[in-house]
């Protein structure tokens, strides 16, 4: 019971921490809106040439743009969440102090990242979507149940995203400088999450492969549930499978990494 309260407090801390930067949040909403606008027009041009490309109609394609712009920060496609801080703590050796705390390393950062995700969902998710809905005809569901189903997929997507970034951050135990591997991870996430283009538009075998990779759980899966182009249960199963696998991998790496820690005195 006590530990549950601890992680809830850590999550609340993660939320409050990002809520402090109001101007940055407003600026971020502006950025997501500008990019949403540009992408929406290019998608319209694309779907104008190929109606029903990837099984979407024009309204669904534009909805994909605005919902994914709203989710980018929540599922941290571009990184920039806890992992920078964790890498820095590993590099400086502060991680040794964390390991002596009576809290689990992975759960601690997960709680703080979920708090961050919730803030970004509210702070940077809603406004771009509202703006998009004012300017373009969107294919948003009316049933509240679909929205609930969507939010569950967002939560699962956030878990997968966290699990990937945790493993990436722990690589710093071996590499010392985590910059290279972080950069690689972000590029992969941009390409494979659907941020570049909906994954069902990717041609042929490439499309098949990227849809099976864990990154498709980040954006493509939640948006498809909202658009009604994917069934919730199989989608959840897919996301949960990747979340469990990757969180378990994170555990393994964590225990291997902590054995490497040599605490220096002084």
């Amino acid at each position: 019971m006590g530990t549950g309260r601890l992680y809830a407090a850590v999550a609340a801390g993660g939320f409050r921490r990002y809520a402090t930067y109001r101007m940055a949040t407003a600026a971020g909403v502006f950025t997501n809106t500008v990019f949403g606008l540009i992408l929406a027009y290019t998608y319209l041009a694309l779907w104008d040439q190929r109606p029903h490309l990837g099984g979407y109609d024009q309204a669904q394609a534009v909805t994909f743009v605005w919902v994914s712009q709203g989710l980018l920060m929540t599922v941290a496609v571009l990184g920039g969440g806890f992992e920078d801080e964790l890498i820095e703590r590993i590099r400086t050796g502060d991680i040794a102090v964390d390991l002596y705390r009576p809290a689990d390393l992975q759960l601690w950062w997960l709680a703080s990242d979920l708090g961050r995700a919730l803030f970004h969902l509210l702070g940077r998710g809603l406004l771009p979507l509202v703006f998009g809905a004012l300017l373009f005809p969107l294919a948003l569901p009316v049933s509240p149940l679909t929205w609930v189903a969507f939010l569950i997929a967002v939560l699962l997507g956030t878990l997968v995203s966290f699990a990937i970034r945790f493993v990436v951050a722990l690589c710093a135990f071996w590499l010392l400088d985590g910059a290279g591997v972080s950069q690689l991870a972000v590029l992969t996430a941009i390409f494979c999450s659907g941020m570049l283009l909906p994954l069902n538009v990717f041609p042929g075998a490439l499309g098949e492969v990227v849809r099976l990779l864990p990154w498709s759980a980040l954006l493509q899966a939640p948006v498809d549930i909202l658009l009604g182009t994917a069934d919730p249960l199989p989608t959840y199963a897919f996301q949960a499978l990747w979340a469990v696998l990757l969180l378990a991998l994170g555990r393994l790496v964590q225990s291997a990494a902590t054995r490497r820690v040599v605490v220096q005195g002084g």
Binding site: A24, A27, F30, T31, I38, Q49, L187, F191, V201
Partner: protein, 291 residues
């Protein structure tokens, strides 16, 4: 700040004061050159890391073009433009933006400097603040973006079936330099805005990175109002659309007259002048946090 400069400059100061604006610019360029040289030396201390960062920068910006190629794997034309034509637009804007990003890409850190008070250190140094902020953490790895833009431009020029006239050939370097000047103005104006907004570097990003993303696609893709906005309000259309459409022999958006294709140098100079004024106003309004 100017006072500090005069006091610090001592004897040489009189000559500098007589030279006026021109001397100031020369002084700024000298400071910029010295600071960037320092950052390049420090980058080169870790060569492997530099190569990796440059490749990462290259790959990161190449993703934009990968998106375009994925689109063209499904269609033959976008907004009525074929792949080589879009690649020409992309190559021009990516290279122009890359040059501006290499020169001034660190300017979005200004808000952070104002917040944490490190801008004060720059104010007391005997060199123009703009040059110091611009050269701060100069990232040679940003060559990756220019390289990527030039490669796509090269592909476009090879794949386009055009009858090149001398004027059309000259249009390419003219567009690259003027486009870089326009983007530089956006960087400086964005930094000036951060004196007021402190925490809003993302607003700057939406005009720099967002502007570049917009220009990758033909103007026929966008709504007329948006095209009008980036022609007359924030004149990004002069970076590549108008000169490129002349080269490609395509009709201009908004029924603009033919000569606008030759206006980018003027527009670039005008933008830089306005951005300089905005920067001065921003710097004058600066109040240190005192921390």
């Amino acid at each position: 700040m100017a006072e500090t400069f005069r006091a610090g400059a001592g004897e040489g100061d009189r000559g500098w004061a007589r030279e006026g604006e021109g001397g100031r610019v020369r002084e700024g360029l000298r400071a910029y050159r010295l600071i960037t040289a320092m950052w390049i030396r420090s980058t080169m201390a870790y060569r492997a890391s530099f190569v990796m960062n440059t490749l990462g920068n290259f790959a990161g910006t190449a993703l934009d073009f990968v998106a375009i190629m994925l689109m063209f794997s499904q269609v033959d034309a976008l907004g009525g433009y074929r792949l080589p034509e879009v690649a020409f637009l992309y190559g021009l804007s990516a290279t122009a933006f890359g040059i501006a990003d290499l020169a001034l890409g660190s300017m979005d850190r200004l808000g952070r400097r104002v917040r944490d008070g490190t801008l004060d250190t720059l104010l007391v140094r005997p060199a123009p603040v703009l040059a110091q902020v611009a050269a701060d953490r100069f990232g040679l790895r940003r060559l990756g973006r220019i390289l990527q833009g030039l490669l796509i431009l090269g592909y476009a020029v090879a794949a386009l079936d055009l009858s090149w006239t001398p004027l059309k050939v000259l249009m390419v370097p003219m567009a690259l330099l003027s486009g870089a000047a326009i983007f530089c103005a956006v960087f400086v104006a964005g930094a000036a805005f951060q004196f007021v907004a402190l925490d809003a570097s993302e607003v700057q990003n939406s005009f720099t990175y967002g502007g570049q993303t917009l220009l990758q696609y033909p103007p026929t893709v966008f709504a007329r109002e948006l095209v009008r906005g980036v022609t007359f309000v924030l004149p990004l259309a002069f970076v590549n659309w108008l000169p490129a459409l002349y080269v490609l022999g395509r009709p201009y958006p908004l029924d603009l007259p033919l000569w606008v294709a030759f206006a980018p140098p003027l527009v670039g100079a005008g933008c830089c002048a306005l951005a300089g004024l905005a920067w001065r106003a921003g710097l004058r309004s600066y109040r240190s946090t005192g921390s």
